[in-house]
């Protein structure tokens, strides 16, 4: 039996490899430099190239846009093993994902777990087909780290909710068709109860957005305003007033994604950059202080990678306490921040250029500025440390 499965998987791998080689356009095997090179779908979604369109359509036909969802929801119905093989083969060839959509990465998991069957059948296939682009609305201007302190109100008006309030950090809200939101449906109860999870059509009357400019310049973030927006009752996902359960589920999901960022990026060795740019003396960098900081940084970077590996190996063997991974968001973003601080020093005057050709319009400086948000978004450093202190170390609250 085990042999049979293995043979099937091996065949699947061979077939997949061949199909990808035959069907993935060469330009879709190049790494992307910018999220704008990806296909995000949506009512106004446009393909940036014929190859991109071709690739999306072929994968859609193959049912591999979201290969691991059930077929009835528009997925490919692949087993975990098959899905892993497909991922491996795609990265072997360097194939881009054919479609990016927060509906796939964020809303999907939540709906599969909390939505009713009708909702799943209604929304998920549209996501797969690239018809609807989703964005998320959790944070609010006055809530900050205290997410549960949200004020956007959804009043029960019989057959609809009347939504009023605003959301912040809603990525790509300008371009999205629908938004999944946390709203307050009961203000009388405690902070964590009385929250519900609602789906809102951005085309509804009273919805507007405003882009947020960051210290690094333009960003995909928006503020989204709800001015007496009518939302059908059917758009409620999960139990009324129990949306915090869904929020926690999604936050854990998001935190893992952010923490994992450093893992998938091809990392530049900053010591190589230093060797290229900086002067040496007797074979060692003349700026010996920077040298030691680079050495310390690369030590921590390498050991952090080992720690991610160790944790994954523990997970595989079923021995993972989850303790180490709670630190990943903190440490991964911290390394990212430190790396850019060091690169600024390595590249000297040229690193702070902001608006010059040579600097590609301040690429390095803007990325440096952008990293300062890493320790804030997806749970601040301080919140992460609180979590470790309380949940992992079991230190008492007052």
């Amino acid at each position: 039996m085990e042999t049979k499965v293995n043979i099937d998987l091996t065949n699947f791998r061979m077939e997949t490899r061949k199909w990808l080689e035959d069907n993935c356009p060469l330009s879709m095997r190049e790494p992307t430099k910018d999220p704008s090179e990806l296909y995000w779908g949506g009512r106004n979604g446009e393909f940036s190239s014929d190859d991109q369109k071709l690739w999306f359509e072929r994968m859609l036909e193959k049912k591999w846009i979201v290969p691991y969802w059930e077929v009835k929801y528009g997925g490919g119905g692949l087993s975990n093993e098959q899905n892993n093989i497909l991922n491996q083969e795609m990265s072997r060839l360097g194939c881009r994902k054919p479609h990016y959509n927060f509906g796939i990465s964020m809303l999907g998991p939540a709906m599969l777990k909390f939505a009713n069957e009708e909702q799943k059948l209604n929304y998920l296939p549209e996501i797969v087909q690239g018809k609807i682009r989703w964005c998320q609305g959790y944070s609010e201007p006055n809530a900050g780290s205290d997410l549960a302190n949200l004020q956007t109100k959804a009043e029960d008006k019989g057959d609809y909710f009347l939504v009023t309030g605003s959301k912040v950090w809603t990525s790509y809200a300008e371009k999205a068709d629908w938004i999944f939101c946390l709203v307050r449906t009961d203000s009388s109860s405690s902070k964590h109860t009385g929250i519900s999870f609602l789906l809102i059509d951005m085309a509804s009357e009273g919805v507007s957005t405003r882009p947020i400019k960051l210290i690094s310049g333009k960003s995909p973030f928006c503020e989204t305003f709800f001015d007496s927006v009518k939302v059908p009752k059917a758009n409620l996902v999960g139990t009324l007033n129990d949306g915090w359960t869904i929020a926690k589920y999604l936050l854990t999901h998001e935190r893992q994604m952010i923490g994992g960022i450093g893992e998938t990026d091809k990392k530049l060795h900053i010591s190589d950059e230093a060797i290229n740019v900086m002067s040496k003396n007797n074979g060692i960098l003349s700026d010996t202080i920077l040298r030691s900081k680079i050495s310390e940084f690369e030590m921590n970077e390498e050991i952090f990678d080992l720690t991610i590996r160790r944790t994954m190996d523990e997970e595989k063997s079923g021995n993972n306490s989850g303790a180490a991974s709670s630190f990943f968001k903190y440490y991964g973003t911290e390394l990212n921040i430190q790396r850019e601080e060091l690169r600024l020093k390595i590249n000297g005057f040229s690193s702070t250029e902001w608006n010059s050709k040579a600097s590609e319009n301040g690429k390095q400086a803007r990325y440096f500025c952008r990293t300062k948000g890493n320790s804030i978004e997806g749970g601040t450093h301080e919140v992460q440390l609180n979590i470790i202190a309380k949940r992992i170390l079991g230190l008492p609250t007052k």
Partner: protein
Amino acid sequence: MALLINEEQQMLKESTKEFLDLKSPISSMRKLRDNNFQTYNEELWMEMVEMGWTALTIPEKYNGLNFGYVGLGQVLEEMGRKLTISPIISTVLMSTTLISLSKNEILKSNLFKEIMNGTKLSTVAHDEGVHHNPEILNSLISKEGDFFVLNGKKNFVIDGSISDYLIVTANNESGSNVLICVVDSKSTGVEYNNKVHMDSRTYSDITFNNVKIKNDNFLSFEGDGKLILEKTLDITRIGLAAEMLGNIQEAFEITVNYLKEREQFGVKIGSFQALQHRCALMFGEIELCKSIVLKALQAIDSNDSSLSKYSSLAKAKLGSILQLVSNEAVQMHGGIGVTDDADIGFFLKRARVVQSMLGDSNFHLDKLAKIKNY
């Protein structure tokens, strides 16, 4: 000398603060930036000239105010608080200092007059390469007939794009002397590559191709060039440290006030002990910063033989604390801190530029060790 500012200096500080509160709040800097990175506000500059700021450190002999560097330091500190963009660093702090040290009395007296009345701007061009290093000097001045000719390439020249005069360092032909000459910015053979940096200020890479220099346009010709250059750098670093002290204090105060107002989890975030301790540590470091900046400014005015040491102490310490405070300020503001709507990010952006200017903390810690011979 007591480690205090005197009454006159205190009055200058207060009048500067009043002036800047009115004429140059942080929003002015934002306006210049949003106006396609305007290099400076000429009207504001002429008002500064009228206030006498261009004459502050010029000796009475040349009709200056002879107010000294402790005085100039107070002005720079207040400007640091407002992130004011103006040619004061290039023209007053750097150029005037260098000119003061020259023995070319005619040139000196002419330049001082034009700087004081605000008709001319000036800057010093020394660095070659992307890291500050006074030792690196490849520019060359050679004799050609009746003239001298300058060839070379200078990087990161502060206010290079708006300066009327470029004070340029170069080697003489034998490499035995550092020469310092004044170049009219419109001279034939001067080429600019202007770059706006993260702090919304413009810096220039300038190439000199066979630029003619007249005999009487040398501020140093007789072998004192290296000394003049080094002292100018030391003094400028101290002035930058004074400006950084303003940056640090303002960013810290804005942040502490934010912590007292902003609520999370039903309490003021300033009540969280982890943030309190980080603030308390910064508070102490800032007290240290105040001391070294004042001591270093006094060292200029009193012609202290340890000027170079105090200069490096000031630039090293202020650089590292500005790094700390500018990062903590943004972090403690949370999400709002990384938006362009908030002013706090401007401090971060100015910080990294001014930190690297004329040597970062690493450079000066290394220099301090060398001074003590280890």
